[in-house]
């Protein structure tokens, strides 16, 4: 069983689609990662890049560790995928075209654009991301007409969404010691 289901004629479909079993299996893994992150005081987001039934990238937020605010879990996982390709001497483009991202929270605008740039075709996520979401919450980068920014991708949203929201709430209740003092929002 894998994400590359060998349905006759599948090659004619614009994107391949993970099965319900795939979603259940990999999202459980993603949720375990998020739970682990939460218990370690990190942003509770879990994410996996799965290619041919194999995890080729997984990440957790490394913003504080690297002092680089772009080190979201997805960006870390995408780097791992590229490293996996380099190591195995396989073409990243052909790998990305058959890779699914499973993530507990909607990717942010930046990560959504990065996923496009690498031509990841399908993203399965739990809850929406009202603050930064790039798959419709703030902007819809996933489906926008951006001919010079890779390819649009398909989203499968809402899997165990409530659970993902609760984890985020639990995290944001604790104060982030690394954030600067918030300024009052001007309108």
């Amino acid at each position: 069983m894998g994400t590359e289901s060998e349905i006759p004629g599948a090659g004619l479909q614009p994107v391949f689609h993970p099965t319900d079993e795939d979603i259940e299996k990999w999202m459980s893994r993603a949720f375990e990662m998020a739970q682990d992150a939460l218990q370690n005081g990190e942003v509770p987001v879990g994410c996996l890049l799965v290619h041919g039934g194999q995890v080729v990238g997984q990440g957790r937020n490394q913003v504080n560790q690297t002092r680089n605010a772009t080190r979201h879990a997805e960006m870390v996982a995408l780097d791992q995928l590229l490293e996996w390709c380099r190591h195995g001497n396989v073409d990243p483009h052909s790998v990305c075209l058959r890779t699914v991202l499973y993530v507990t929270v909607e990717p942010c605008v930046m990560c959504a654009a990065a996923l496009r740039l690498l031509n990841i075709p399908v993203v399965v996520y739990g809850c929406g991301n009202e603050r930064f979401g790039g798959c419709g919450s703030v902007l819809d980068v996933s489906s926008a007409q951006l001919p010079h920014t890779g390819t649009a991708f398909k989203c499968v949203a809402g899997y165990r969404a409530q659970e993902a929201v609760e984890m985020l709430k639990a995290f944001y209740k604790q104060e982030n010691p690394n954030a600067p003092k918030p300024k009052t929002r001007k309108d």
């Binding site: 490394q62 504080n64 560790q65 690297t66 002092r67 680089n68 605010a69 772009t70 080190r71 960006m75 995408l78 780097d79 590229l82 990243p92 942010c108 605008v109 930046m110 959504a112 654009a113 990065a114 496009r116 740039l117 690498l118 009202e130 603050r131 930064f132 790039g134 703030v138 902007l139 980068v141 926008a144 951006l146 001919p147 010079h148 920014t149 890779g150 010691p177 690394n178 954030a179 600067p180 929002r185 309108d187």
Partner: protein, 369 residues
């Protein structure tokens, strides 16, 4: 090692900084065309009735949602008498009088009022006529000038925006510095070559308070398609602050400078250690990600890079040339996005021609890989 802008031969020719103008990239609300809504106005034929008519009309037709619209205007010439100081009053929007066909060529004042007048005594009002009034309050002087041609509106001017739109926000010495920073970005772009796809971009991160370049980077997409110049620059800044996720050592034109000890206070402090939290750094006046920094980048950032700058809490962004999928003006204006927790100013056109020349000719599509 601290990168410094190098003077190149071709830039010397434009040293006076008169060859380019940095224009602000404003929000859609600030830059959109003036939207108009049709309305009925009527001349005031008896000036003594003016205040009564305004009061009664306002009470019947308060023009809710158009608080910027002035109720009366000086008569805009034309016939019908009335003298040089006569006025015209806005009666109602066309949508307020659904039974009146606005395509007609004459209207009776009675047809614009409910039967019985609705509290408006039409004495002193001449025959109504069609006008178009601005639907939104003007936010910039150009919008105000267009709006005023149709009907007078209130205008709360942001003088800084007005000056910026005239291209006069930056003084000559400021422009000379800005040019130096963009030249450093151009230099990096050239050193980076194509960067693995299309004309490569270059970027320079600047601490404007200290007037110094803290990092310079260029596209390194050959190795990682996500290593756009801006992403490289952000990580170089992180490295300069004791963090960083990558090493760009093999690219001599990608450099970062550690913050000088005691840069923000009189007594010297040791360079930040990796173990020190960002909050501690901020309290000690040490830099926190890109807070307060200016980014100079040859080409308008893509969506990924623009949002990376939001996350990095960039101070301002200056770019040379627009990009077809650009996210700071062309396709999106991420820096003005209301839902996001950080907004910043963006200016375009710094050494615009030189930045466009980087991509060969302007018509050549820029491949974002």
């Amino acid at each position: 090692m601290e990168p410094q802008p190098k003077r190149r031969k071709e830039s010397m020719e434009n040293d006076d900084a008169d060859s380019w103008v940095a224009l602000p990239v404003l929000s859609d609300q600030q830059s959109r065309d003036t939207e108009l809504v049709p309305a009925f106005a009527a001349p005031i034929t008896d000036k003594k009735e003016t205040s009564r008519l305004i009061k009664e009309l306002h009470s019947l037709y308060p023009l809710a949602g158009l608080p910027h619209i002035k109720r009366v205007r000086p008569r805009g010439g034309g016939d019908g008498g009335g003298g040089p100081h006569s006025l015209e009053v806005l009666v109602c929007l066309v949508s307020d009088a659904p039974d009146v066909d606005p395509r007609g060529d004459s209207f009776a004042i009675g047809s614009l009022l409910p039967s019985g007048g609705g509290g408006v005594r039409p004495d002193g009002l001449g025959p109504p006529f069609l006008v178009k009034v601005p639907a939104c309050p003007p936010l910039t002087r150009p919008q105000f000038q267009v709006a005023s041609k149709h009907w007078p509106t209130a205008f709360h001017e942001d003088k800084r925006v007005t000056v910026a739109l005239r291209g006069e926000l930056f003084s000559r010495p400021q422009k000379a510095r800005m040019q130096g920073y963009m030249e450093a970005a151009l230099e990096a772009a050239r050193a980076g070559g194509g960067g693995g796809g299309g004309g490569g971009a270059g970027a320079a991160m600047v601490d404007p308070k200290a007037e110094r370049i803290v990092a310079v980077g260029h596209d390194c997409r050959g190795e990682n398609p996500l290593h756009h110049a801006v992403m490289v620059c952000i990580d170089l800044v992180a490295r300069g602050q004791g963090g960083g996720a990558y090493r760009f050592d093999k690219y001599p034109a990608c450099t970062s400078a550690s913050p000088p000890a005691g840069s923000s206070s009189s007594d010297p402090k040791p360079a930040p250690k990796t173990s020190q939290t960002a909050a501690e750094s901020a309290e000690e006046g040490q830099p926190y990600i890109c807070t307060g920094y200016d980014l100079y980048v040859t080409r308008e950032p893509c969506v990924m890079c623009a949002m990376a700058l939001v996350h990095s809490r960039i101070g301002r962004v200056f770019y040379g040339a627009a990009a077809p999928d650009g996210a700071l003006g062309t396709k999106y204006k991420i820096h003005t996005q209301r839902d996001l927790n950080h907004r910043f100013e963006v200016f375009k056109g710094v050494l615009g021609q030189q930045c466009r020349d980087l991509n060969g000719c302007e018509d050549k599509p820029v491949t974002e890989h």
